[in-house]
Symmetry: C2
Subunit: 425 residues, 2 copies
């Protein structure tokens, strides 16, 4: 199925909020094997809404500006304020009046645990639907939705609040949009520490076999690389052979160390699993990140088995007091140095009595940089009983980006250290 | 000016990436006093791209589906891969051939610091523009952009990589899009801890005066409330009086404690300023958030003046060892309890020797909840030399949302504690 998304509301056009509904919907449809063919955000204006509906639902193939679709999800503008014009705009487009819906009133009373008479005036305004359309229950909020079909296009109007949008999609779309005829076949890994230009070079000779699609998406937590396609049930066995062989070839072109996990786990998941497999524990000593590494090491439920404690040693005195870093060393080398990162890691492991320790010290900026030690310079040290390793990084970007890039780099360094540590035994 | 944004590329429709370009552009245009009238994301397909261009640039008012605009920004699809069809699609729409542009070649050679002959084949593919259009220099990447005008609509084609999109906008749009005739007048604050429904009730009687626009946008870091408008230079003085008076009335309707800062600062900024004003320091002891509070307390450059150190005490033993929380107390009350939060805060302040300390302990889930202590239960304690205060919270949402909501709530509690602490003196 081809599906379009129409977001109604000024907040997306005023830069007040990121369009997470578009992002979420795209992901859900991908999993269900349907195609999102456009997402359009427009102002809360009746004439603009009606113009788009005419284009999408006109019923004449080939004349519209927007790609054709069988389902149109319309979100936003269903609330109680004067800006919320979606109900009226759709009624105007259909040339029918708005009607108070007593079924929706019953749902809301039930949800609130009150008698229908107790529903407030502002809540009542959210219980009107265009005459002849189907009211849709909202399990997560007070604004009711509605649905109708015209010229082969089904429209679903849902609230724009992300939690309500999700709840309505799950209730009214997901169950009937399951495909019995095909399944999503997907292979995915994350890489870390491999520059995009280098990756492109390495994969130059790789040809993605039909019907699969190659994707590569970078973020601070690594690059997600995938091969995927929706495949008809009857073809799954054949395509499986093709996918396995293409995937094997793709993986062989990438440096083994850059692959976070062959099973597709994220960096926090992988570190957690590596520690669990070894029944090992980790502690952290953070300066410039001041908590981001600890936060990531506890992102996975059950992290209390692997993460015991950590030290946020932002001030030099804290590095001395909590980790035993010598004052002389801090003076002679500076807080942002290889030697201090190593001393922090060793001191942390000793104080916390863990198998591994990670330490991080750097200049997050925007102030505090010098020609010798510029903003973005970060040292990360990892140690265990068997030894220690320190690496120097030069990150780019603003303070926030430098801090999160550093934190993920620390997890990756811990990952590699654990793997190599094992090999030495 | 009315501006439209057309995003070309499958990654937005496949749920691989959030549309941050749309969000960023909306913010920039708001600051410049222009109106973003739509944002549309479509697939990388020549016929779809051409269909939208026909609609937007047809030159006949009133027949298009999309809102009319004077400028159309087109992003994405300018790269070197087979998916990148934007150059060809625009050339097809204009019915002209693509031409290799030697001026763009010169820019790229200069940027890379190489001779033109050294430019690779894949980079060369990004230097073609439709005949008759103006090539646009890309200061942040290798794909060149282009521009042309048709029927009163100017089109700017920029790469979709956010850093390149931003650099191109700053170079080719921002300087000439400055308005000399009007300025943005804006008042903004953040509130924290005030439920949206309660806020709506409190502001029911408030009427936003023309030409100002009221907005209220919730997030984990608080609700941003604003009144804003673009005002002609000649009217600024008159409108200033109106805005000041409306703003004063709006503020008077909100509980003073819920207003993070009258000057509009964020929660991390406000806490930083409150501490700086008092020449005071703070330390943290974190259990369930494991670093998120420390991270937020050091978000502001210069935080080393106020934040000295912190303890990530995830394990019970760490709470005892580092903060002196008695084992008996942990056994009798449990780690997630008022008494333990208080003991953590007091122990933290003593160990770190700071003016204030914040402690947080809770159940982030999704496992570990019980009927008495459900997932989302969090205790936050703040203390100073003068005393301590603990509060109980029950957050909703997933693990990530519970952890960040807790961290921001801790900052807010610290803010209120500092303010009230002062009043007591």
């Amino acid at each position: 199925m081809r599906i379009g998304l129409l977001n109604i509301g000024d907040e997306l056009l005023l830069g007040k909020t990121l369009n997470t509904n578009a992002f979420d919907l795209a992901g859900w449809l991908g999993e269900l094997g349907h195609e999102l063919v456009f997402t359009l955000a427009i102002e809360d204006r009746e004439d603009v809404i009606a113009g788009v509906l005419r284009d999408v639902m006109a019923g004449v193939a080939g004349i519209g500006a927007l790609p054709r679709c069988e389902k149109l999800l319309l979100t936003g503008g269903l609330g109680p304020t004067r800006d919320d014009l979606t109900r009226g705009a759709v009624a105007g487009f259909l040339d029918v009046p708005l009607e108070y819906n007593s079924e929706a009133e019953g749902w809301l009373a039930e949800r609130l645990g009150v008698k229908p008479e107790a529903i407030s005036e502002s809540q009542r305004q959210q219980l009107y639907v265009p005459r002849g359309t189907l009211p849709l229950r909202n399990p997560a909020g007070s604004a009711c939705g509605f649905s109708f079909e015209l010229n082969g296009v089904s429209l679903f109007a849902f609230p724009g609040v992300p939690s309500e949008f999700r709840a309505m999609f799950d209730l009214h779309c997901r169950p009937s949009w399951q495909r019995g005829d095909a399944v999503l076949m997907r292979k995915r890994i994350f890489t870390f520490g491999l520059a995009e230009s280098r990756q492109r070079e390495l994969l130059r000779g790789f040809a993605t076999p039909e019907p699969f699609r190659f994707s590569s998406l970078p973020s601070e937590s690594g690059v997600a690389i995938a091969l995927e396609a929706f495949v008809a049930n009857a073809e799954v066995e054949t395509q499986k052979v093709l996918l396995e062989s293409a995937w094997k070839e793709l993986l062989s072109l990438l440096p083994a160390e850059s692959i976070v996990d062959l099973g597709g786990a994220t960096l926090p998941q992988t570190v957690f699993h590596l520690l669990r497999e070894r029944d090992a524990t980790v502690s952290v000593a953070e300066s410039c990140t001041a908590g981001a590494v600890g936060y990531l090491l506890t992102e996975i439920p059950g992290s209390s088995q692997t993460f015991k404690q950590g030290y946020l040693t932002y001030a030099n005195e804290a590095k001395t007091l909590l980790l035993g870093v010598k004052e002389d060393l801090l003076k002679s080398r500076g807080a942002v140095s290889e030697a201090v990162a190593l001393a922090m890691a060793n001191g942390c492991r000793e104080a916390a009595n863990t198998d591994y320790a990670v330490a991080i010290t750097g200049i997050a900026g925007p102030e505090g940089g010098t020609p010798e030690k510029p903003v973005g310079l970060v040292y990360i040290a990892v140690c265990s009983q068997k030894g220690a390793e320190v690496r120097r990084f030069q990150f780019r970007g603003d303070r926030k980006s430098i801090r999160w890039s550093s934190a993920y780099a620390a997890l990756n360094q811990l990952r590699l250290f654990i793997i190599n540590d094992l090999r030495k035994v």
